[in-house]
């Protein structure tokens, strides 16, 4: 989470005051997906944000749908007991909202159906009177496929449908929400500023939205989508001089070896994941982002070259494309990606199937700049800059060594990349530096800023992150042991002693803080399962939300 450029005494940012976002929409219209994504983004910007989910609250206090009286979700007259229960739930949520604002929170996203005009009017008026800026966020879906996918992937995995035939469960769920559709009143009132998202980002309508934070919210919402996809992270290969930013050195022999193993592994792993998730590999492509640093974009080099095999003639031509790296110079291409790419670089693999791959270099993805500590070992830095060293060790997130970037600076620099990350619809492989991967991963997972510098990403692990409606699901796969894996130079096969480089990896301490301080949070293949605690909660209940 990148804290903001500045802080204020009130804890509120951008002169925006307090904001309550009321979601409006039928079940299975992506409200939760949108709410969670927005919460994650605003928190990253340093805005104190909280989703209050009516569905979650009801489940916590009243239990699952089976424990509710039969008239809880149906239309028409309700028994006094049911009315009391419903009031208890909404009062409870409002209490949560008020508590959060009372404790200095700035934005609350109230994730509920709010399908009745009178209900939302009453809510909006109540909070407007308290000086809170109310925004209505309606999520509308006229794409049956999106609704169905949502029901299949999220709703019917609830305990209510355990053991059901999926098709029957979907049918049952449709019946359960049909009543809700009858009473649903779409937002027509223009009393309050409102945003309407159609088909989770396909189209967006904005009315009467003013202010910077609000426009950031709109910009963000314009760039999200829920097309299923996979995001991979891998470190760049070992370079000749790991501890110098300035030297911008090329890959070491081990680094080149790594880059080829990486390609092989990504191709293999992705094929498996595509199959597991039932994605058609033919209508998907893989986009690779690297920084403009030599060690990073050269790690992507094997992806752009044909895979050789003795059975294939060596003259196998490369398919012409502007994306292929021209000789002689390292060329940075899209600093900002152009929209929806057309031609792609085809990489032929021996099996005869074709991989669609595109490589883009981004200048904002360079590793954290170590400033005056460039080229120094920890001992040397401690010796020459004792005071700065002490402060760095105390708060590696916020501390900026002379001429250097802090992790906070890096997070701010990466903000445009986050938007592009949200926007990307294809599968993505980010070949990055550990500092950059830390920040991006922290954003996706929702880790607090203070933990960013200590996330460990070992060279030779491939992280696979799959966005879900409640967060992300991530897994790490170990594919390579060799010089420079952990910067210790002892977990390889012994050859690196001969190579004589690996001992020096640990000296790249500014970028590789975790390695140096024996990081608190190791992301190994073993313990990296569900990173987000939210993931499991949501799937528990069929009617994830209710009024």
């Amino acid at each position: 989470m990148a804290a903001p450029l500045y802080t204020t005494a009130s804890g509120l940012l951008f002169h925006a005051g307090k904001i309550l976002i009321l979601t409006v929409g039928l079940p299975a219209r992506g409200k939760t997906h949108i709410s969670r994504a927005l919460e994650r983004y605003l928190r990253w910007m340093g805005v104190k944000t909280q989703v209050v989910s009516l569905g979650d609250y009801r489940r916590k206090t009243l239990g699952g749908a089976k424990k509710l009286p039969p008239d809880y979700f149906t239309l028409g007259e309700k028994s006094p007991e049911t009315m009391a229960l419903r009031k208890m739930v909404s009062d409870g949520c409002e209490k949560l909202i008020e508590d959060f604002f009372g404790a200095g929170g700035q934005v609350v996203i109230y994730d509920a159906n709010n399908g009745s005009r009178t209900t939302r009017q009453a809510l909006a008026e109540k909070y407007d009177k308290q000086g809170i800026h109310v925004i209505i966020l309606e999520s509308v879906c006229d794409n049956k496929e999106i609704i169905e996918t949502n029901i299949r992937n999220v709703k019917i995995s609830s305990p209510d449908y355990r053991g059901w035939d999926p098709d029957k469960a979907v049918k049952d769920y449709y019946e359960r929400i049909r009543d809700r559709e009858k009473s649903y009143e779409t937002v027509e009132e223009t009393t309050w500023p409102f945003i309407r998202i159609i088909n989770v980002g396909e189209k967006i309508m904005v009315n009467n939205i003013r202010g910077y934070l609000q426009s950031r919210i709109v910009f963000f919402l314009m760039n999200i989508h829920n097309r299923p996809r996979m995001i991979y992270f891998a470190r760049s290969g070992q370079s000749l001089i790991e501890h110098s930013y300035k030297a911008d050195s090329d890959l070491s022999p081990a680094g080149w070896e790594y880059s080829e193993r990486l390609k092989e592994f990504v191709v293999e792993r992705r094929a498996k994941s595509l199959e597991q998730n039932g994605f058609d590999p033919n209508d998907r492509r893989l986009v690779i982002w690297t920084s403009t640093r030599r060690r990073a974009h050269h790690t992507a080099w094997p992806f752009l070259t044909p895979t050789h095999s003795t059975s294939i003639p060596q003259q196998l031509p490369l398919v012409a494309s502007h994306l292929t790296v021209p000789p002689q110079s390292a060329v940075a291409r899209n600093v900002v990606t152009t929209d929806e790419a057309g031609e792609l670089t085809e990489t032929k693999v021996t099996t005869g199937s074709s991989l669609k791959i595109k490589v883009i270099e981004k200048t904002q993805m360079c590793e954290i700049n170590p400033g005056v500590w460039d080229g120094l070992t920890p001992d040397q830095a401690r010796k020459f800059y004792p005071e700065e060293w002490a402060r760095f060790v105390k708060d590696p997130y916020a501390f900026r060594a002379p001429r250097a970037e802090s992790y906070h600076d890096l997070s701010v620099r990466l903000e445009p990349i986050l938007i592009e990350l949200e926007r990307e619809k294809e599968d993505l492989l980010i070949i990055g530096h550990s500092s950059v991967i830390r920040c991006l991963l922290a954003y996706l997972i929702g880790l607090p800023a203070s933990e960013i510098p200590a996330i460990e990403i070992a060279r030779g692990d491939l992280l696979e992150v799959v966005p879900t409606s409640y967060g992300v699901h991530s897994q790490a796969f170990h594919f390579w042991d060799g010089p420079g894996r952990r910067g210790e130079g002892i977990d390889g096969d012994g050859d690196q002693e001969e190579v004589g480089l690996s001992r020096r990896d640990e000296t790249n301490f500014y970028e590789n803080y975790a390695e140096d301080t024996k990081g608190k949070k190791r992301m190994n293949a073993v313990d990296l399962g569900f990173l987000s605690p939210r993931i499991q909660e949501g799937s528990e209940e069929a009617l994830a939300d209710g009024t």
Binding site: S215, A247, D250, A320, N369, G375, L376, V412
Partner: protein, 542 residues
Amino acid sequence: MNRPSEDHNRVHFPILSSELTAALGAIEDMADDTDAVLDSVVRGSPPVIFRAGGPMLKQFDESTASSRKGSQAPTPPRSVVGIGNKVAKPDYSEAKIVLAMVGLPARGKSYLSNKLMRYLKWLEYDVQVFNVGQLRRSRAHHKAQQSGILEDHTSNYFSHNNVEATKLREQLAEDSLEMLIRWLKRGGNVAIHDATNSTRMRRAKISARVAKEKGMSVIFLESICNDPAVIAANVALKVSSGDPDYKDLPREVAERDFLRRIKEYEAVYETITEPHLSYLRITDIGNEVTLSRINGYLQSRIAFYLMNLHVKPRNIFLSRHGESQYNVEGRIGGDSLLSERGLAYAHALPELVRNNIGDAPLIVWTSTLQRTIQTAAELPYPKLTWKSLDELDAGVCDGMTYEEIEQAYPEDFANRDEDKFNYRYRGGESYRDVVVRLEPVIMELERQENILIFGHQAIIRCLYAYFHDLPQADLPYINVPLHTVIKLTPKAYGCDEERYTLPIGAVDTHRPKPGSTISPPDVVPLSTSKREYFGTNVAFGK
């Protein structure tokens, strides 16, 4: 296009060529050298290990030139050695957008077109405004010169009852659209169709025409203005700023005619409600924005930019830090403190600023480097520091003088002047990299009111080029002298500029492009707020 022509022999790691083993040995030795160099430092800061001037970098480059040999894939580009290299422009060839304006006269259409053009051009998109009014005027002008026939361009011409003129105007709009499409096909990215496009029929035609072109999409941008004061100001600007339509006419007559022209348009005006069109509607610039069917990255950038605009009068002040110790020594980069004269500048600033803006609110922005913070120290205004405002990172050349760089790497040094904008210092940045990192600063600047920025030479150049729409090739040579405050006042069609140079001497750090006698822009201060009535590049659309 690179064809792997050599080195297909698979040499497996770790079977290393003897050459490579030797190279790695050399790196080992260098590491020992590093220890030796650092051990000799008793106190103070250590020398920068990989500076271009030191022995290490060259030695390293020579030792690693062949590191790729140990691997099996075709050889990628040779590692860049030396102090930097030229970086190619990002590929925007797939972005092809028609942005068609919609709105009554005097609603700020041209203002928005111009703003957007400047912003997108600065981000290196190829943008052009196709203004139908300009085309009309320049054709009429041409006709008048050739044949002596003066066309009637008073409000009669704009009446929808005037069948013949309506036909002519339709024709003009269509011609202009064709020119625009031709231009996009030739490689443009964003073409702005600056016309009223006030009826559904007109918009349907544009939409249908653009749909015929593969890869092009159209967005309508409607500007609505409900504030009578703003409209009146726009009308006044129109009739008093030398519009040739009203040449030689008394102001009142011109104004009456122009208001009648607006009436003619109002009679047939239809606001956008077509549900299938992509559009953006801006009501009272900065107040309300409606987006519909806006898809795509560039489109969302445009929308975000437009949401952040405002038209409140304000000034932007740009200044470099006071003269620094490195300036005096002729060194680039670094994080040195101010010289005596630099401190004198910092001391004189509060009075200069107060005289200029009085009691109006002002926010001061500085970089994170000591010299800008020191320069702003005595100013009694709220201050913010931005990492993004730090000077262009000269990488391995940081802290050196140009003479030292030239001596150590004569060829590289000359290369930089060949294409300075695209030249990235090794381990550092190019001007393009700086533009990319300044983009959020520009966005913030558009939202703010009075701002005073203390930046650095390259930073101020980039910001200045944005406000004055200066070409990329000239950008790295803009002369931004020390101890000078540049005051920019955004106007409808550009910026007015004033400069205040304090009588405190300073070194001149400006290096003109070798071989050129004048440094662009050769007229300072610049004023780019004048409207172009005939257009310079649109000509007659033949």
